[in-house]
Symmetry: C5
Amino acid sequence: MKKIGVLDTTFARVGMGAFAVDELKKTGTGFRIERSTVPGIKDLPVAAKKLIEERGCDIVIALGMPGAQEIDKVCAHEASSGLIQVQLLTNKHIIEVFVHEDEAKTVKELAWVAERRAREHAVNAYDLLFRPERLAANAGKGLRQGFEDVGPVD
Amino acid sequence: MKKIGVLDTTFARVGMGAFAVDELKKTGTGFRIERSTVPGIKDLPVAAKKLIEERGCDIVIALGMPGAQEIDKVCAHEASSGLIQVQLLTNKHIIEVFVHEDEAKTVKELAWVAERRAREHAVNAYDLLFRPERLAANAGKGLRQGFEDVGPVD
Amino acid sequence: MKKIGVLDTTFARVGMGAFAVDELKKTGTGFRIERSTVPGIKDLPVAAKKLIEERGCDIVIALGMPGAQEIDKVCAHEASSGLIQVQLLTNKHIIEVFVHEDEAKTVKELAWVAERRAREHAVNAYDLLFRPERLAANAGKGLRQGFEDVGPVD
Amino acid sequence: MKKIGVLDTTFARVGMGAFAVDELKKTGTGFRIERSTVPGIKDLPVAAKKLIEERGCDIVIALGMPGAQEIDKVCAHEASSGLIQVQLLTNKHIIEVFVHEDEAKTVKELAWVAERRAREHAVNAYDLLFRPERLAANAGKGLRQGFEDVGPVD
Amino acid sequence: MKKIGVLDTTFARVGMGAFAVDELKKTGTGFRIERSTVPGIKDLPVAAKKLIEERGCDIVIALGMPGAQEIDKVCAHEASSGLIQVQLLTNKHIIEVFVHEDEAKTVKELAWVAERRAREHAVNAYDLLFRPERLAANAGKGLRQGFEDVGPVD
C-alpha cells in the first residue's frame, strides 16, 4: 500500500488540499493519504520532508497560494527551491501546486483555478506513482493544470 | 518537556523575541524556552541550527526586521533560504517572523505589526508542536499574521 | 554498455525527448536509452536523480520548455539550480535543454529551434560520454545549440 | 584558547581585515587570530570553511567590498549564500562584513564606513564568542554597523 | 606535485583555457595541468567537481563567457552558485573566470579582456596554491582582473 501526502496551508484562501484528496479518491486505489497543514508556503519544505521520512509517504502534493505582492513572489521562490531540495534528499517526487493570487482576475476565478489545478495535479501525482506510461504518452503535448491546455505546436 | 527556541536580532527596531516569549507563556505549558540573539538576519540560520542541535530545541521562532532598501530584501532572501535549509537538515520547523520596515507607514504601525506578528506566529509554533489539528482545521482559511486575515474566497 | 537518460515533460509543446533519442541513435552506439516523462520542469531534478541512481544512467538529457511569463522564468531558474545540485550529488553530467517559449517569434520557429537544440545537445551528451576530445577541440569556438553558432572572436 | 579567523580580499579598496584585527585586540583576550586573503568575495566561502576546518577557527569575520554594478550585486548575493552554507556545514558563525561601493558618496566616506563597519562587526564576533549576553541585552535596539544606529521604535 | 585543473567551454568565443595554461607555465613550476572542456557554463560545476575528485586537482580555474541577454545572466548566476557549492563540498578553491559578452564594446576588446582576465586569474590560482603571502600583501589594494586595477581608497 503506497502513501500519498497531501500538504496545504492556513494562508491559502481555498481549501486546495481537500480538493486534491477528493480527486485522488476518484482516480484510483492502492494508496492511503497522509494529511498535514502548515501556516504558510515557507513551512512546506520541512513538512513535506517529515511526511516522507517520518510518515512514510511515497509522494507528496504540496499546495499553496502565494500572495500578489513582490515579497510573496520571493517567498514562493524560496518555498519552491526548498521543495526541490527535499526531493533530492529523499528521491521522492513532490508535486508543487501553487496558485498565485494575481493569476486570477476575480476571487471566483481564483477559487475555480485553485480547485482545478489541485485536482489535475492530484492526477499527475497518481500517475507518477502508478501510471508513468500515461505521462510518457503525453510528452510534449503542451498540457497545463488549471487553465486550458495550450497543446502541441504542430 | 519540549524546548522552543526564540531567536532575534539587535538590528530589529522592536523587541520581537520578548513578545513571542510572552505569548508562548500565555498560550500553554509543557515547554521550556531557549533564547538567543544575533546581530542581523543573516546570522539567524546558523543560530537556529545551534539552538536545535546544541541546545535541543524542537522548534525555533526566528524573528527579524529587514530594512527597506533593495539590499535588505536580498539579505532577507538569503536568510530565509538559510532558514529553510536548516529545517531540511534537522527535520524541525523554524517559524520565520520577518517584518519588513516598509510594510508599515509609520513607526507606530511598525511596532504594532511587529508585536502582533510575533505573537500570532508564536501561537503557530505552539500549534505545530502541540496542536496540529488546530492548523488542519484552518486549512485554506486565508489566515494572516500581523495584519487582518483576508479569509477564505467562498 | 553505458546508459543515457532522456527526460522530458508533458508541459512542453514539442516532443523534444523523441528528437534527442532519434539523434542519439544516429550519432553512435555503445549505449542504452532510459526514458522518463514528468509534468513540468520543476519535476526534472528528482526525476534526473532517479534516472541516475535507480536506473543506472551515466548521463541525462533533461529537456523542457519554460513559458514566456515572468513566473516561468523563475521556475526555469529553480529547475536549473536543482539540475546542477543533482550533478554535484551524483558526479554525473546532466545536459539541460531548455527552450523558452519567447525565444521564437512564431510557433513554427519554436518547433524548429526545439528540435534542433534537442538534437545538438544530444550530440553534446554523447561527446561528454564517449568523445571528450571533440569538445576539447572546440573550446572557445562560440558554439550554440538551436540558433546559429556565433563563432570565435578572432 | 579560541581562534578567530579574519578573511579579506585583494579586490576591496580598503584594508578592512587589518581594522578588524586591530579592533579585536582592543576588545579583549583569550583568542588567537588566523588571517587569510583571497582575490574576491566569491572566494570567501571556501576560504572561510578552510579557516574553520583546517585551521581550527571558532568563528570567522569575512570582509569584502562588492562593486557598484548590477553584476557585483549578484556576486555579493552568491558569496553571502555561500557563507551561510558554510555556517550550516560547520555550526560556526561567520560574520559577513560587506561594504558596497555605492553605499558611500565619496571615496573618503567609503573608507570611513568600511573601517567603522569592520571594527563594529569585530566586536560582534567577539561578543558571539565570549559575551552573548551583551547581544541579548541589545535585542530589538535597532543597532547598525558603519552608519549610525537607528535605535528602537518606541 | 600539485595538480591545477583548467576548465573551459565551447560556448565561449575566446580560447580562455589556453591563455590560462600558457600563463601558468610562465608563472612557476611544481604542478601538472588537467584540461577539460564542456558545452556551456552550467556544465562547469560538475566538471570542476570531477576534476577535483576523479582527477585529483588541488585547484580549478573555471573559464566561461556568459552572453549578453538577461537569460545568460541567470545562467551565470546558476553556474557561479554551483561552483561555490563544489568548493564547499571539496574544500578546494575554484577560481571563476567569467567574461560577460556585454562587458566589452567591441569584439576586439572582448578578446583582449578575456585573455587578460584569464591570465591574471591564472596567477591568482597559482598564488592560492603556492604563494598565499602574495595575496595577503595585496589585501584591500583594489586589484582587478582584466580591466585596470582601481587601487586602494587612501
